[in-house]
């Protein structure tokens, strides 16, 4: 909510920063969860996709053509590895901090124990 002259206006935060002559700081986190799971990478991606969808019912969870999963605006999950073990990369921006850290915790507890 920004006051312009004697009018109040509702504008998005990035726009508000620019109006105030400030640049938003873009902060991004990338964390990795390593697991010993046998089978193809696609099987692990599918498992994570189902898990994410079940935990985040009110959020858009999308499966991309390149095998990655996106959640909401900025959360990205990518799986790499071989038949024996997998690395799950979880990345998110500060604006999705609660969502990203929650998802990382879910993946750590559900897949590594």
């Amino acid at each position: 909510l920004v006051m312009k002259g004697n009018k109040l206006q509702l504008i998005d935060p990035a726009h508000a920063f620019r109006e105030l002559g400030l640049e938003e700081h873009h902060l991004r986190f990338t964390c990795t969860v390593s697991i010993d799971e046998e089978g193809p990478v696609t099987q692990t991606v599918d498992k994570i996709y189902q898990l994410t969808k079940s935990k985040l019912k009110n959020y858009p969870v999308q499966y991309s053509n390149d095998g990655s999963i996106t959640v909401s605006e900025s959360v990205l999950i990518k799986v790499s590895g071989d038949e024996e073990s997998k690395d799950i990369l979880v990345s998110w921006s500060y604006q999705d901090e609660e969502l990203g850290s929650y998802l990382l915790q879910i993946l750590r507890t559900s897949l590594t124990t």
Partner: protein, 83 residues
């Protein structure tokens, strides 16, 4: 289910020395700073973490504990303006 409680916004660019000092105060030991010309790469070898700071953007790549990530996040936020 999961719900977001609040969203906050940060702006500006951090002073690297201040950022390093705040991380040290938070108990993070062994901080190596490399100047890249346009920004800095901060390496925390004991905590398996790399931080790329480039003006108005920062990327924290954390292979270690969640508690370390949170300490780095809070240290950086202390060096920025917040809304």
């Amino acid at each position: 289910g999961f719900e977001v409680h609040k969203k906050s916004y940060i702006f500006g660019s951090p002073n690297i020395q201040t950022f390093v000092d705040v991380m040290t105060q938070q108990g993070i030991s062994s901080i190596k700073v490399e100047d890249t010309g346009s920004g800095s790469i901060i390496h925390l070898p004991n905590d398996e973490t790399l931080i790329q700071v480039d003006g108005d953007s920062t990327h924290i790549i954390c292979e270690g504990d969640e508690s370390i990530r949170v300490k780095i996040r809070d240290s950086l936020i202390k060096c920025l303006k917040r809304l």
